[in-house]
Amino acid sequence: MSEERSSEHGKNQLSFKDRPIKILLAKPGIDGHDRGILVLAKAFRDAGMEVIYAGLLPTPEQVVETAINEDVDVVALSLLNGAHMTVFKKVADLMKERGVNDIAIVGGGTIPDADKPKLEKLGISGNYGPGTPISVIIDHVTKRAMEARKLKESGQ
């Protein structure tokens, strides 16, 4: 691989479209339930994505800051403490405030069906609960990442 890279300078980098999906995983509330997010971190990595895990207890501000600095395609938020309507919304609001529209936001955790349309309206999609097959989540993240890429391309 390294030989290939050095053979033709400039062409060694993957084109924008072929670059692996870059995803930030975060639990932006006061919540230590990290079983699901750790499983997904590994699963996304095994699926070839570039994964950044924000660790525990980041504030919504820190999540948005990291997402922008790292220029990720997707931010995946997880909460199992019932605070998603407040905290996920804060992340979405801050993104909007910062004028970011080319980073997709997806959610997951213990989210009642009644809350899902409200989150969708804020641009937070997925909102998968326990028991969701990983493949479903990966497909959704990939779809949202591609949409974000398109916006990124059109913005360039």
């Binding site: 750790l38 525990l56 605070a83 213990t110």
Partner: protein
């Protein structure tokens, strides 16, 4: 110092030496009868392993267990090594305590729920706290926005605890509080509430979880670095040993380790390793092991693999008795007893077809009773969705009552004792646990293993493997990856309104307006001075601050200033 052998590696060798190597009866039966039958009639070709990765045979025989099993490994109930139970009469003496974990919304909501449970025959209170409380944040901290009362009750100051226990006679109940990082603060608040009710501190009965090691391992609710928390726990241990004979100050918890994704044997091994650490700490603090170790109790998960859970609980009792006696030199029989609370597994509850969860909980509860638990919480069927509704909690409590009163299961002690399979599995679980103890010892002990992220990585790896097995259909969850149905959310769930937050904010505003600020400031300054001196017990200072109505965050901030905070090692 020889690093190749330690207490645990020697025990491991001992166990291996005593394990039968051959099983001629089984081998000849396979050749004689089984193989032909399988060929003729077919068989379900799959892996037969349990959550701990232990491979299972079709059947077990006397040759699978050591010949002196009865005399050496079992003993009689209430006798060393306590494999069959910690008490001579077990449930004929007293049924297990039916302890339903509850707590949500405002202190008023929780007070009502506790009274409801007492009225329906519950014999011990158990309180859940919300996330801000567990992490030492006040309700008016911006970070707490949206979290108030969501996962338990919110406690910001002593005022809230006074409301939770309003009209409840603290001399008649025992109270278990699931609180860890701020355990000393909540214990102090409980003492203060008792004082106001004129109940002598020595009459207060209950348990705080306070097992901080498993926080770094699994539940991830800490405030300071591990050493700081351990020091505060040491202070609480010393204080309670002197003043509160009925207070169990550490509930060493495997529950969360399991929920975080560990196997049964990992739960067993990591939990007991944590326990050994606390015993060692108490001895180093100058306490007599026979004085304080009897106050340590345990908290296990009962998951869905029935016999594996029972074997785990039996092995736990034997390991604890053996290690306390042989390694820590405990002399009194009471010191050797591993008494434990059990909760059925939240992880096994499914979001899909939630009524099936009643069945899962029943099976898990049955395993806990057969495993000899001292108290039990049964989960409610709606808990994959939200905090349980009153109706769901009642069914969960009734599940225990049916097992206790109708099935005859509690009538005979350790009814599975002597089952070749259960005895073999108990021995295997024990062996695997010692393998982990040995490994942890070689890493410098559990604290170093946790700080290095080793334990967390072991759990994450098991959890991921299990998820992949589910995805591949090698493991089944009914309604999730087999027998699925398309359905809408079919049950009513408990909603916590934002009113709880509003009410809490109002209360803390009032508390701050009416309290004597000078008294608060002085108490916090004295606490800081105490925290800075390792040989001073912080407990009386925390009590003083609490009684001055200093808030949980104000008190925690003193520690944050003195000890700093903590960022966990990289797990993934």
């Amino acid at each position: 110092m020889s690093s190749n052998t330690n207490f645990y590696s020697k025990k491991l060798d001992e166990i291996r030496d005593q394990t039968p190597r051959t099983n001629s009866e089984y081998d000849s039966w396979r050749k004689r009868t089984l193989q032909e039958w399988n060929q003729k009639t077919g068989y379900r070709d799959r892996e037969y392993i349990n959550s701990s990765g232990i491979e299972l045979k079709e059947v077990y025989t006397p040759e699978d267990i050591p010949q002196d099993t009865e005399s050496r490994l079992l003993g009689m109930p209430g006798e060393y090594p306590f494999t069959r139970g910690v008490y001579p009469n077990m449930y004929r003496g007293k049924l297990w305590t039916m302890r339903m974990f509850s707590g949500f919304g405002t202190p008023e909501d929780t007070n009502r729920r506790l009274k409801y449970l007492i009225q329906h025959g519950e014999s011990g209170l158990s309180i859940a706290f919300d996330m801000p409380t567990l992490y030492g944040f006040d309700c008016d901290n911006p970070r707490s926005d949206g979290e108030i009362g969501k996962c338990g009750v919110n406690v910001t100051s002593l005022k809230d605890m006074e409301v939770i226990f309003r009209g409840i006679d603290l001399s008649k109940v025992s109270t278990s509080m699931t609180i860890n990082a701020p355990a000393a603060i909540l214990t102090a608040m409980y003492i203060a509430v008792g004082k106001k009710k004129k109940i002598p501190i020595s009459d207060l009965a209950g348990t705080v979880q306070a097992d901080i090691l498993k926080e770094y391992i699994a539940q991830k609710e800490w405030i300071y670095p591990p050493e700081a928390h351990l020091r505060l726990i040491r202070d609480m241990m010393t204080y309670c040993t002197e003043n509160m004979p009925k207070w169990n100050y550490i509930s060493i918890s495997g529950y969360h380790i399991r929920e975080a994704g560990s196997s049964a044997v990992q739960e067993l091994a990591f939990t007991l390793a944590d326990g050994f650490y606390y015993v060692d700490m108490g001895i180093k603090a100058g306490l007599d092991v026979d004085e304080f170790a009897p106050r340590l109790s345990f908290f296990f998960n009962s998951s869905i693999n029935f016999f594996e859970e029972i074997a785990k609980m039996r092995a736990a009792r034997r390991i604890w008795a053996t290690v306390l006696k042989e390694k820590f030199g405990a002399k009194k029989p009471r010191t050797l007893l591993l008494r434990f609370h059990t909760q059925t597994s939240g992880y096994t509850l499914t979001w899909q077809q939630p009524l099936n969860n009643i069945i899962r909980t029943t099976i898990e509860a049955m395993a806990a009773v057969l495993g000899g638990t001292q108290s039990l919480h049964t989960n409610s069927y709606d808990e994959a969705w939200a905090l349980p509704s009153e109706e769901a909690v009642k069914i969960a409590l009734r599940t225990q009552q049916i097992i206790a009163e109708e099935t005859g299961v509690p009538d005979v002690i350790d009814p599975l004792g002597g089952s070749y399979y259960v005895e073999w599995l108990t021995n295997r679980m024990e062996e695997e646990a010692y393998r982990y103890f040995d490994e942890i010892e070689r890493m410098g002990g559990i604290l170093d293993a946790v700080k290095a992220g080793y334990i967390q990585k072991e759990i994450a790896a098991t959890s991921y493997r299990r998820q992949i097995r589910l995805e591949e259909g090698k493991e089944i969850m009914v309604g999730v990856n087999k027998y699925t149905e398309k359905e809408d959310q079919p049950i009513n769930i408990l909603k916590i309104s934002k009113a709880a937050q509003k009410q809490q904010l109002e209360r803390i505003r009032n508390v701050k307006k009416t309290r004597d600020q000078l008294k608060v400031d002085r108490a916090l300054q004295e606490l800081e001075d105490a925290m800075r001196k390792d040989d001073v017990n912080t407990m009386p200072f925390i009590l003083k601050a609490v009684e001055a109505y200093a808030t949980i965050e104000e008190i925690s901030n003193v520690g944050r200033k003195v000890f700093g905070t903590w960022k966990e090692p990289v797990i993934v």
